[in-house]
């Protein structure tokens, strides 16, 4: 049986797809067979960030409708043979996603994979509620600003009441906070909420803090999950997140304003 992870937020554009790609790649690099599914029907972009957009033949909706098999639709990553991508459809409308259809696909994937990462669309509509419905774990991606925190809180309420686990009275979904696009400098200036502020409002287990980083945009432009950019701050932060998720104890980084070393000051690094 696979562990199903939903990457969710409520608010749009906070870094869910970036996180899904990095998490899935990170888990696969650790040797776990991992599938990552794009639930953003109509606005697919996971395949772009994974760099496999030119290899899409069939998609998630085709599989649900029985127009292709799962194996035909799954795209094997070129960099890591433990990682598979199930892209979303750009042409279909969201109505094609049904609880039963999604359940069947996840059940079939579960036989073959250790982790299934579900990249949720923004909002609290059908696509988002379906992405989280079958989840075992939820990574709630939040930016350090009030509206994003409020939407995450809303999403947490939905996770706690509308998921399969909630409906069946099973152990609740494990919820993790991932704070992304964090800028210690701006926190210091009072322009952003701090890690503590967000923790205080959401009271959630902190999985990690991903700094605001140019590396993210570079990575998505070149179709490489940022976790593969091992030199970058964001790449390292995501590696830490994967290790923490797998149960390792890793101290949090990228929370405080970096003091520039003598070298840094001399060479402007």
């Amino acid at each position: 049986m696979a562990r199903i992870i939903v990457v969710t937020s409520g608010k749009g554009g906070v870094g869910k797809t970036t996180t899904s790609a990095a998490m899935a790649m990170g888990l696969a690099l650790k040797g776990h067979r991992t599938a990552v599914i794009d639930f953003d029907v109509g606005l697919r972009n996971l395949d772009l960030i994974m760099g496999c957009e030119r290899r899409v033949v069939y998609d998630f909706v085709n599989v649900i409708n029985g127009e292709s098999t799962l194996n035909q639709a799954l795209i094997k990553d070129k960099r890591c043979d433990k990682l598979f991508i199930l892209p979303a459809s750009q042409t279909r409308d969201k109505e094609s996603l049904t609880v039963e259809g999604v359940g069947k696909v996840l059940e079939d994937l579960s036989k073959d994979f250790e982790f299934i990462v579900c990249d949720s669309p923004a909002g609290i509509e059908r696509g988002a509620t379906l992405a989280m419905y079958y989840a075992d774990d939820a990574i709630v991606v939040t930016n350090p600003e009030v509206s994003s925190v409020r939407d995450s809180d809303r999403m947490l309420g939905i996770l706690a009441s509308k998921s399969r686990r909630a409906e069946q009275g099973e152990e609740p979904i494990k919820e993790y906070l991932l704070l992304t696009r964090y800028s210690p400098e701006r926190v210091k200036l009072g322009e952003m909420l701090s890690v503590e502020d967000v923790q205080d409002i959401l009271s959630l287990h902190l999985l990690g803090v991903i700094p605001e980083s140019k590396a993210v945009l570079n990575a998505s432009n070149s179709g490489v999950p940022v976790i593969l950019d091992e030199k970058s701050d964001a790449g390292q932060a995501f590696s830490d997140v994967v290790r923490r998720y797998l149960g390792e104890h890793v101290t949090h980084r990228f929370i405080d304003v970096e003091k520039k070393s003598i070298f840094g000051r001399l060479f402007g690094g």
């Binding site: 562990r3 309420g157 009271s203």
Partner: protein, 240 residues
């Protein structure tokens, strides 16, 4: 199950069986005419559809000692209204058997809760029976967009109540985390009810319909433990 997860102790047990007390609403059946029951149930549920949606409910047939009851019809009527009938109590042996056999209802006993005497019995004058204690305890955070209402009882929230959440009770409300949302006690008009909270940052507090919004709450009372009650028609927020 991946290796990494079996390593962490949390995922080793497939389940635990614990004994726990749950509070359930009880449908006290007073009629055997299922059409009549069904239509009244509809009206009742229509008044507060959200509160009754998928609500588990026990059936008490104490008042209908040893008459034939159409359990199948009753269960259907309840399900049609979105309720989830979970068990039967107060029945005679014969009734229990019929309910189990035909409607799949389990037989439960109302542990220690004394059943109130039937309506016709004379009420003892000297010592009135203690008011039925009904308290709902919520351990998880109440998140933005969630609503909790306790009919005929008190509400205790052990965790926080987020901004955008709403908690309501016919009785008192206690919040042991931060109260950022709305809290309404005594919503059926009981003006003696109170709200107690550990850290007041509420959007709105109300007792029996007398309310105060965040803007009108004194800054000195924010972020501190308080109790809220009504005195001479006005809401008093007092530090405790």
């Amino acid at each position: 199950m991946p290796a990494s997860h079996s390593e962490s102790a949390e995922f080793v047990n497939a389940f635990e069986i614990k004994s726990g007390a749950v509070n359930l609403p009880v449908l006290k059946l007073l009629s055997v005419d299922m059409e009549y029951v069904s239509s009244q149930l509809w009206q009742k549920v229509r008044q507060a559809p959200e509160f009754f949606r998928n609500a588990p409910m026990a059936i008490d047939i104490h008042s209908l000692a040893d008459v034939d009851i159409d359990f199948v019809g009753l269960v259907r009527a309840m399900r049609d209204c979105g309720l989830i009938p979970v068990g039967l109590c107060g029945g005679a042996e014969r009734q229990n058997q019929a309910a189990q056999a035909h409607a799949g209802l389990s037989v439960i006993s109302l542990a220690r809760h004394e059943l109130p005497p039937p309506a016709s019995a004379p009420k003892p004058k000297a010592a009135p029976p203690p008011a039925e204690v009904h308290t709902k305890i919520v351990e998880q955070p109440v998140r933005s967009g969630q609503r909790i209402y306790v009919a005929g009882g008190d509400l205790v929230v052990m965790s926080q109540v987020s901004a955008g959440a709403e908690i309501m009770a016919d009785g008192n409300i206690h919040v042991y985390g931060t109260l950022r949302g709305r809290a309404l006690a005594g919503v059926q008009g009981n003006l003696g009810c109170r709200i107690f909270c550990h850290d007041l940052q509420a959007e709105l507090v109300s007792i029996g319909g007398h309310y105060k919004i965040s803007e009108n709450i004194d800054d000195s009372l924010r972020g501190v433990p308080v109790q809220i009650y009504l005195q001479d028609q006005s809401l008093v927020i007092q530090r405790i």
